[in-house]
């Protein structure tokens, strides 16, 4: 079994919060929607590469590509991100789709969390930092969020 397969198998059975999914319905065409990326890759602006171990988030100015990986976990490939941020953080692809008129616009800021929380709980993200990030996105009139992990 490959390393990735072993990890996938190991985390598949982890406890998960029971939340009934709801769907927000877009009230306008995608070509008029404002889109943001929220990644759990643990990216941070360059110069801020201390290890990240909690449920907080950071804003990533949408034009900023000088970003660093601060994720604590050694368990995934990092060389891909070293070569091309878009392999986990498709900011250039989003800019291109906006220029082509596929989406309406790109958010002022994207957001980064650190995935695979070490304490195994979700309360901070569910009750504090998740709603705070949602409000910041709404304040920027974002309609659509694309979520990317590592």
């Amino acid at each position: 079994m490959s390393a990735d397969a072993t990890i996938r198998s190991g985390v598949s059975g982890l406890p998960a919060p029971e939340i009934e999914p709801v769907a927000t319905v877009l009230g306008k065409p995608l070509s008029e929607c404002r889109v943001a990326i929220v990644t759990t890759a643990g990216l941070r602006p360059n110069g801020d590469i201390e290890l990240w171990l909690d449920g907080t988030f950071t804003k990533l100015p949408a034009a900023d590509r000088d970003l660093q990986l601060s994720h604590f976990s050694p368990n995934f490939d990092r060389a891909g991100l070293t070569q091309d941020l878009n392999v986990a953080y498709p900011a250039d692809r989003l800019d291109e789709l906006a220029a082509a008129g596929v989406i309406g616009s790109v958010a002022t800021d994207h957001f980064s969390f650190m995935g695979a929380q070490t304490d195994g709980t979700f309360s901070t993200i569910l009750q504090d930092t998740g709603p705070a990030a949602a409000q910041a996105l709404l304040d920027d009139e974002v309609d659509v969020v694309l979520l990317t992990p590592v």
Binding site: S2, A3, D4, I7, R8, V11, S12, G13, L14, A16, I19, P21, V22, A23, T24, V25, L26, L30, C33, V38, I49, E50, L51, L69, F72, S73, P74, N75, F76, D77, R78, A79, L81, T82, Q83, D84, V87, A88, P90, R93, L94, L97, V102, I103, F113, L126, G130, P131, A133, A134, L137, L138, V142, V144, V145, L146, L147, T148, P149, V150
Partner: protein, 231 residues
């Protein structure tokens, strides 16, 4: 990731996420997910392939119209990691026998690291606990920990030894990008931990930490959990 989808949808934002672990998406049930069986760490599949990445993003956006949540669709292409075959990076010959082998090796890879630094416009993951010029000292501390010196006595705690291990891995992987063409998912990781003196040192330190039972966090994260100990 999937939990955030719930929070955002409840706040009135439409979301679609990439899932990299299908079983996790099935249990957390985010509203809309595209399962991408790509190497972990590469959720858009292929670095430096804009067309492929755009296709993945378009597949995500196509799910936004779906209200029959939870939606969990599979991206039609699977990409396997290649960690069973290490990158074929040439290692420098022993230059200064008076130095510990990992330090001699690290110094021999410095030019390749600098070339990668230039290629990326100065972007590097080295520097969490020490700048590149001080990585010799980081290796010396790992050698001390392997010999049984307590973490506190080398000035580290559980988080800083993990960070230090990531500095060394970043140095080697960034140098390795300039030394081999076969740098697919996990290939540089395999090369570092199995072929280099410094990577093997980190694995031995992991085993020392694990045997000591005192630093469980460090023992878990100082090298990848799937990295086997040398026979």
């Amino acid at each position: 990731m999937s939990v955030l989808s719930h929070v955002f949808e409840q706040a009135g934002l439409a979301t679609v996420g990439i899932s990299i672990v299908r079983g996790q998406a099935e249990s957390v049930r985010p509203p809309r997910s595209l399962y991408c069986e790509f190497p972990l760490g590469r959720p858009l599949g292929k670095p430096n392939d804009p067309a492929f990445q755009t296709d993945v993003v378009m597949a995500m956006l196509a799910l936004l119209d779906r209200t029959d949540v939870p939606v969990l669709e599979d991206y039609p292409e699977i990409i396997e990691e290649q960690g069973s075959e290490a990158s074929s990076c040439p290692l420098p010959p022993r230059h200064d026998p008076s130095l510990p082998a990992p330090i001699d090796e690290l110094r021999g890879l410095r030019n390749a690291y600098e070339r990668n630094l230039e290629a990326t416009g100065g972007r590097t993951l080295v520097g969490r606990v020490a700048p590149v010029d001080e990585l010799d000292t980081v290796i010396e501390k790992f050698i001390q920990v392997e010999a049984g010196t307590p973490l506190a006595d080398v000035g580290w705690d559980e988080v800083s030894i993990i960070a230090a291990s990531q500095d060394l891995r970043a140095f080697y992987e960034e140098a390795g990008l300039q030394l081999a063409d076969n740098t697919g998912a996990r290939q540089l990781l395999t090369w570092f931990y199995e072929a280099t003196e410094t990577g093997r040192l980190l694995v031995r330190v992991r085993d020392v930490l694990k045997a000591g039972r005192e630093h469980k966090l460090a023992a878990m994260y100082v090298v990848p959990g799937t990295q086997e100990s040398p026979a």
